[in-house]
Every structure is written in structure tokens, then in C-alpha cells.
């Protein structure tokens, strides 16, 4: 996979994780503590699954990409 395609993998992974984080916030507002915590763990596991399956794969193929992502998030709060 070339580096540009790997960047797209990373952006899509973050997009999925942002969606799931939005779901987490919605559930936090509307569920009781125990039910929310059970969902929170599952959502965290889902995000971790995306991270391991996609982010880690892209970073392994292009190690410089991780530094690029960190620098972009540090500056813009987002991978541009």
C-alpha cells in the first residue's frame, strides 16, 4: 500500500472512532450508570479493534505516518 492510501486508512479510522465517541457521549447522557459503563467498555473495545486492525497496519507499513499524525493532532487537534 502506498503512503497516500495509508493516510486515507488512518483518516477513515479516526472518522469511525469519532462516530463511536459521539455515540459514547449520547449514551452517557441517556443511560443509567451501569448500562452506560457496559456500553462504554464495548465501544472502547470497538475503537481499539479499529485501531489495531487499521491504524496499526498502516503505521507498520509507513512508520513515518505515526509521527505525521501526532504532529498534525498536536497542532490542529485533527489529522488533516
Amino acid at each position: 500500500m502506498d503512503e497516500n492510501l495509508a493516510r486515507h486508512v488512518v483518516r477513515t479510522s479516526f472518522q469511525v472512532a469519532r462516530e463511536l465517541r459521539g455515540l459514547l457521549m449520547l449514551l452517557k447522557e441517556h443511560l443509567g450508570k451501569d448500562e452506560y459503563e457496559a456500553y462504554a467498555r464495548k465501544i472502547a473495545a470497538a475503537i481499539d479493534g479499529v485501531n489495531v486492525a487499521l491504524l496499526e497496519t498502516a503505521f507498520s507499513a509507513h512508520p513515518g505516518l505515526k509521527r505525521e499524525v501526532d504532529a498534525s493532532i498536536e497542532k490542529y487537534d485533527r489529522f488533516l
Binding site: 479516526f14 450508570k33 462504554a40 467498555r41 473495545a45 475503537i47 485501531n51 501526532d70 487537534d77 485533527r78
Partner: protein
């Protein structure tokens, strides 16, 4: 003579096995104690977050941020006398790394419990910061 040597050898072997078993048990107890400390720490962090939520302490746009250029630059920081005990992302990440999931995959649920509050921090909807910290 041969028989007595054999008994001594057996005795040595038994003592060695007992010693090895004792060391293994001591190591297991140390790991268990470490695991309990991590769990108590994680429960304490979660209790603090719950307490803050129940007290209605939410996002405050005036809350100070760490100046740019520093390792935690741009992130929210504690306000004096208010949230000083709140776990920082760095402390959560450091604690999660100590769980050493590569060696102890059985600690994964604990890691999820420890780390999902990283996703709960207030960030603008377009921000990737929480997700990136969670990945770390």
C-alpha cells in the same frame, strides 16, 4: 552407599522443587498485589469522574489549557482547587502501559475500563485528539 546418595539426590531435588514452587508462588502473589493496586487506582479514577459528573462539574470554556509547545500542549489542565485530582491523559496512558497487555492479555478488560474515560473528555466534534490518546 549408592542408595544413600540417591536419597540425598532425591532430597536435593525435592528441596529444589519446593524452592522453585515457593519462588513461583511469591511471584504470583506480587503480580496479584500489583494487579489489585492497578484496579484500585482505576476504580478511584472512575469514582472521581463519577463524582464530578454527579456534582455537575462539566466543560468550562475558561478552564486553562497547557501552553503550546509543551508535551501536553493544548490539552485541558486542572483548575486550582477544583480538579487537581483528576487523572490526566498521560497518567492514564502510563498506567495502561504498566498493565503490559502483550505479556498479560487477561488484563485487557481492565485496560478498557481504565482507558475509556480518555474518550469521554470534552473535545470539539472534529477533534481526533481523544482517539489518538486512546490509541497510544
Amino acid at each position: 552407599m549408592t542408595m544413600r546418595l540417591s536419597l540425598y539426590e532425591q532430597l536435593d531435588r525435592d528441596m529444589l522443587e519446593a524452592h522453585t514452587a515457593r519462588l513461583a508462588e511469591e511471584r504470583r502473589q506480587r503480580e496479584l498485589a500489583e494487579l489489585r493496586r492497578e484496579l484500585v487506582g482505576a476504580q478511584l479514577d472512575l469514582a472521581i469522574i463519577d463524582l464530578k459528573r454527579n456534582l455537575g462539574i462539566k466543560y468550562d470554556s475558561n478552564q486553562p489549557r497547557v501552553p503550546a509547545g509543551q508535551p501536553e500542549g493544548g490539552r485541558w489542565t486542572a483548575q486550582p482547587g477544583r480538579a487537581a485530582s483528576e487523572p490526566t491523559p498521560a497518567s492514564i496512558i502510563a498506567r495502561a502501559r504498566r498493565l503490559n497487555l502483550a505479556a498479560r492479555p487477561d488484563r485487557y478488560p481492565m485496560c478498557l475500563d481504565l482507558c475509556y474515560p480518555l474518550l469521554e473528555r470534552y473535545q470539539p466534534p472534529w477533534s481526533d485528539r481523544n482517539e489518538n490518546d486512546f490509541h497510544r
